[in-house]
C-alpha cells in the first residue's frame, strides 16, 4: 500500500463529515486546539477504522500519537507497515 500522506488525512476528515471547514485545519497543530472536540475525534477514529481497517487504541490516543493530522499520517504509516 502506498504511503499515507497528509492530503489523505484531509480526505479522511472530509469523509467523516464533521460540520467544520476541514481545509482550514493546520496539519501540524493539535486538533483539539482547533475546531474539533472529543466527539469529532471519535468520528475520525471511526473513519480511520472504516477506511484502513486499523483500530485506534485508547493507549495510543492517550500518548498523543493521533492528535495532529501529521501524526495521524505517521501513525497510519507505522501501523500499516507493521501489518506488512
Amino acid at each position: 500500500m502506498s504511503k499515507v500522506t497528509v492530503q489523505d488525512v484531509f480526505k479522511l476528515f472530509e469523509a467523516a463529515d464533521l460540520d467544520i471547514d476541514v481545509t482550514e485545519l493546520d496539519p501540524a497543530a493539535p486538533l483539539l486546539e482547533q475546531e474539533l472536540d472529543s466527539l469529532d475525534m471519535m468520528n475520525v477514529y471511526f473513519q480511520i477504522e472504516e477506511t484502513y481497517g486499523i483500530s485506534v487504541g485508547e493507549d495510543s490516543i492517550a500518548s498523543g500519537d493521533w492528535d495532529t493530522m501529521q501524526k495521524i499520517a505517521d501513525s497510519l504509516n507505522a501501523s500499516l507497515s507493521s501489518q506488512g
Partner: protein, 307 residues
C-alpha cells in the same frame, strides 16, 4: 386477532436547564447546541418510577377512552424501578386500580426496550387472547448519575410513556430485528449502589456501525425500501449521534427528527416520546423505530398506520 398500537400517553417531569451545569464541566453552550443537543434534562424530583408511570397513564386517559377494569395486560420497561423487588409493574397495577386478572411484569432493558416491549406485549396478548394492554417505559437515571461526569450529566432526562395496545389499533407492528453485543456490556453500566458509567466511544462506534445495518435488515424483512418510510424515529441518544446515524443511513436529516432537545435522553422512553410527537400520520404511513444502547442491545421495527 392482531394487537397493535392504539395511543400513547407521556409524562415529562420538571426540566433542569443544562446551562446551569456548564461551569462544572468546563464546556460552553455550543457543546449543548451542537453536540448533546440537550438544553434541558427532565428531573423526577423525588417521584418514584411507578409515579411517573401513573402520570403517563393519566395523560393517556385524557387522550383515549379506556377504563382500568378492561386492562388485561401491563408491562413496565425499566432498569431503575422503585425497588429491587417487588416488580414496578405490580406497584403500577395497584396505583391504577387494575383488576386481579391483569398480567403484570417488568422488562429489564434500556434504550432498545420499547421495540422489545412492543414485541413481547403483542405476542403475549395474542397468545392469550388479551385485548387491552398498557406498555410502560420509565427508566429515570437522575438517581444514578455522577454529576461530575460530563459524559452523562448533560445527557440524561427522566420521563415515562405508556402505549395502549388493543385489537383495534391505529398502527400495526411489522417484523423486527434484534442484535446483542454482550461482549461490550460494560460500555454502559451501573453496579449495585454505584453510579452510571458510559464509554462514549464504544457506544458511538456500536451505533454508527450497527444501526444502519439493522435498519437495512428490518426494511428487507418487511419488504420495504427507505423511500417507503415516512420517518425514522431513532433513539434520541444525542443530537450528534442522531445526526451521524442519519448520515450513515443515507437518508435526509429531515426524515430523522431530533425531538428531545428540551428534556434529554430518556432511555427507553425516547422512541415512544418521538412517536407520540409524530403520531398523527395518514393511513399507509410507515415509521421505522430503532432503539440502541445498554447491553449493548439494538432493536428495530416498522409500524404502519392502518386507520
Amino acid at each position: 386477532m392482531t394487537i397493535g398500537i392504539a395511543g400513547i400517553g407521556i409524562h415529562i417531569p420538571q426540566i433542569q436547564d443544562c446551562r446551569e451545569k456548564l461551569s462544572r464541566h468546563n464546556v460552553d453552550e455550543s457543546f449543548l447546541e451542537n453536540k448533546t443537543g440537550f438544553v434541558g434534562n427532565a428531573q423526577k424530583n423525588g417521584l418514584a418510577t411507578s409515579d411517573l408511570c401513573v402520570l403517563a397513564a393519566e395523560d393517556l386517559a385524557r387522550k383515549r377512552d379506556f377504563s382500568a377494569e378492561e386492562v388485561d395486560f401491563l408491562c413496565v420497561c425499566t432498569q431503575n424501578g422503585d425497588f429491587h423487588l417487588p416488580q414496578t409493574s405490580a406497584l403500577v397495577h395497584r396505583k391504577l386500580g387494575l383488576p386481579r386478572s391483569c398480567a403484570a411484569f417488568d422488562i429489564s432493558l434500556g434504550c432498545s426496550g420499547y421495540v422489545y416491549s412492543l414485541n413481547v406485549a403483542r405476542a403475549f396478548m395474542e397468545a392469550n387472547g388479551l385485548k387491552r394492554g398498557l406498555v410502560f417505559t420509565a427508566d429515570p437515571y437522575s438517581d444514578i448519575i455522577d454529576i461530575n461526569d460530563k459524559n452523562t450529566d448533560l445527557l440524561f432526562g427522566d420521563a415515562a410513556t405508556v402505549t395502549l395496545m388493543t385489537d383495534d389499533p391505529d398502527y400495526e407492528i411489522g417484523k423486527s430485528v434484534f442484535e446483542t453485543d454482550g461482549a461490550s456490556a460494560e460500555a454502559l453500566q451501573c453496579e449495585h449502589g454505584g453510579r452510571l458509567f458510559m464509554d462514549g466511544r464504544r457506544i458511538f462506534e456500536f451505533v454508527l456501525r450497527h444501526v444502519p445495518q439493522s435498519v437495512d435488515a428490518c426494511l428487507q424483512r418487511n419488504d420495504l425500501a427507505k423511500d417507503d418510510i415516512t420517518l425514522f424515529l431513532l433513539h434520541q441518544a444525542s443530537l450528534y449521534l442522531v445526526k451521524n446515524a442519519a448520515k450513515r443511513l443515507k437518508v435526509s436529516v429531515d426524515k430523522v427528527p431530533f425531538v428531545a432537545a428540551e428534556y434529554g435522553n430518556t432511555v427507553s422512553s425516547s422512541v415512544p416520546l418521538a412517536l407520540e410527537e409524530h403520531y398523527d400520520q395518514k393511513p399507509g404511513a410507515s415509521l421505522l423505530l430503532s432503539g440502541f444502547g445498554v447491553g449493548l442491545s439494538l432493536a428495530t421495527t416498522i409500524i404502519t398506520r392502518i386507520k
